[in-house]
Amino acid sequence: MSKVFGFSGVDNFCPGGSIYACGNPKEASLFLPLGPQVDVYFPPRKRSRISAPFVFNGEWLEQKQKTSIESLPDECLFEILRRLPAGQDRSACACVSKRWLMCLSNICKSEICCNKSAAPQSSLSVKEGDDEEFGGEGYLSRSLEGKKATDIRLAAIAVGTASRGGLGKLSIRGSNSDRVVTNLGLKAVGHGCPSLKSLSLWNIATIDDEGLIEIANGCQQLEKLDLCKCPAITDKGLIAVVRKCPNLTELSLESCPNIGNECLSAIGKSCSNLKSIAIKDCSSVGDQGIACLFSSTNLLLSKVKLQALTISDLSLAVIGHYGKAVTDLVLNSLPNVSERGFWVMGNGNGLQKLKSLTVGPCLGLTDVGLEAVGKGCPNLKAIHLRKSTLLSDNGLVSFVKATSSLESLQLEECHRISQLGFLGVLFNCGAILKAISLTSCFGFKDLNMVLPPSSPCESLRSLSIINCPGFGNATLSVLGKQCPQLQHVELSGLNGVRDAGLLSLLESNEGGLVKVNLSDCVNLTDKAVSSLVNLHGWTLEVLNLDGCKNVSDASMVAIAKNCPLLCDLDVSKCTITDTGIAALAEAKQFNLQILSLSGCSLVSDRSLPSLKKLGSTLLGLNIQHCNSISSSTVDMLVEQLWRCDILS
């Protein structure tokens, strides 16, 4: 066109030509923020001649504004960025702009080309961290929650950790905000974090199979996967992970309604390293899936947790028959499982290695079922039964008789159990039972019983009775005689326990108590505590009197005199005053590490010197709700006891 107009002068006086130097003029990202040049084809314009003294500088007259790199299409930006080796430069580029970050996050390891230039100093430049191993060993772990869980943050993490040791553990907790994690973010993680070992995704409704497939393709060293409340993920995504990540050892699925039997059968076929599986509240999982999972020959699960599923007796039968490697089994809230299921599980003779069994609210757990389980699991060491409302005393006793290796028994809210059953357990447990724990079993009634003489249970070391209102002095004294070797006693929230009962327990004890927890036993007084420390002070290490209102300074004096080994003392809400604290401080050889005085409103600023003296060995001090201690005292304490963690 310039020739038509008959200009004389240099061509670049009036630069013409298309702004859009690439093929697609419609691409929105290419629209430059320029004024008059909005046309696709920009014809050269007639410019008026300006006489000297102006110097004709081509740049000054240039019509185009300085174009930016933003006008380049994505593939060009990709090509430029992929030539940057992993290292500082990539992390810097990730912060330049959002477009650069997303572009960088799409580059995977195989696409980076390290430009080995022919320059003779190439060996020196490599040392500057240019050629750092991409993805590293996976030392770093990151956690995103709530508003911070966005795609951009994930992309930044993926790019940033690649050169600083690699991301090993990632956990994302979604939220209901506007900016959420989508498949794009997971794609960035898949490309940038090949050393990812543990991934945990909770409450993210916006990711689906595509995202999980990207992770499967990129993070093939994945060992742990945890999905909770991800409704858009189906079998397809999980099967991809299972097939491509041979090191998968732990899988946990919760509230994912679209994951079902197909995925479990794929796991059965392909995962040879899976050891632990936990499935909760996944409505599509049924007997067929569980059957495929357990009956496969190359999969040896050791930890199994099945909760809130619609599986039936068939699954339990399969587990009972095929669960040869199962060591820990948890069955919670299985409404369709009946007595027959447990009976078949016990009689399947497959659970030879089962060490720990936990059964939650299952109506199927009856006396017959439990006995069968007891017979069928010769190595069962620990059992925890929650809300087994149909279990009676007889059932419990026959179970204990049937097992030969039970070490720990825990019953929670089993309201048909009474002290007959409890004592039956003690009589029949053999010499192996070490720990018994009863929580909230309302079936207990304190009856005065005359019992036949029997050999005491020498092996029981730990006794824990929490919140069983019927438990009282009579039972306690029988307990004392029956279990002379107790070391750990926990009697919490028992109003029926009084000094006399505790005294009889203490007197019968031959071994020496080490940990005593008498919290919320409001009817205990100083007399009991004094006897406790007199008889067992030489072994006592932990003493908890939280909520025992009738305990006062006299106990503190006794404790100070008799307990050289005491390291953890909790006297919250007791009627302790400054005198008591002073008495504690006077103790010789006292090595107290944790002291809790929360709620002791009678302790005031005058205890400051005693606390300071105690503080020489203290590691933790709790003075919350001590209303008489002023904040200046607290500040002084914080300043002087710098080794101690003070809660106030």
């Binding site: 930016s68 992390s91 810097a92």
Partner: protein
């Protein structure tokens, strides 16, 4: 002989650059060997820029470097006698430079590496607009070695610079991050700013 055969023979000769003459092996320019073998003058093709300016260039030069032009000639859509190849995305200035590059690299193929690199450095001594135009042209015409060269140059412009500098050099006005994200980046990588 079809175009493809001529091209492969050309490459082969180029690689070896030898011709047996009376029992001895003599280095020859590949064009002359080709002439001797084919007996026809080297064909020229016409390239038309967006400003409708026509550039005439040896077919072998463009075919060797540009995949697009090679494909066009191979599939026979280009008629030597009449047609021109219209390149509406490339302006004259850029096209001239591209042709310059291809011609130099074809003719000076056997030069040593240092000389070629020096010429390349001189060639790319243009402002950023010119560089992007060259990049677009090379991308459109799919000239691999020119693309690699330009990408490498841009990459070196990025290397080692701080983020504010990079934004200035490349004229990135809007970085697209929210204020919180920008804040987070500054906290995490203070030495980059």
């Amino acid at each position: 002989m079809t175009q493809l055969d001529r091209l492969s023979v050309y490459h082969w000769l180029n690689a070896w650059c030898i011709k047996p003459v009376g029992g001895a092996l003599v280095r020859q320019e590949p064009e002359y060997i080709l002439l001797a073998l084919m007996g026809s003058p080297l064909k020229k093709i016409m390239l038309c820029s967006s400003e409708k300016e026509i550039f005439s260039v040896e077919e072998q030069v463009m075919v060797q470097h540009s995949v697009i032009i090679n494909n066009m000639i191979e599939d026979g859509s280009y008629n030597h006698e009449e047609s021109k190849i219209p390149l509406d995305c490339v302006d004259s200035k850029t096209l001239k430079k591209v042709i310059d590059y291809c011609t130099h690299h074809t003719h000076h193929h056997n030069d040593n590496q240092e000389d070629l690199e020096a010429w390349d450095a001189q060639f790319l001594n243009v402002d950023s607009n010119g560089l992007y135009d060259l990049l677009m042209a090379a991308n459109y015409l799919e000239i691999r070695n020119l693309l690699d060269l330009i990408y490498g140059t841009i990459k070196n412009m990025i290397k080692g610079k701080k983020i504010d500098e990079i934004r200035r050099i490349f004229n990135i006005k809007d970085h697209g991050f929210t204020p919180e994200e920008e804040e987070q980046n500054r906290k995490e990588y203070p030495h980059f700013y």
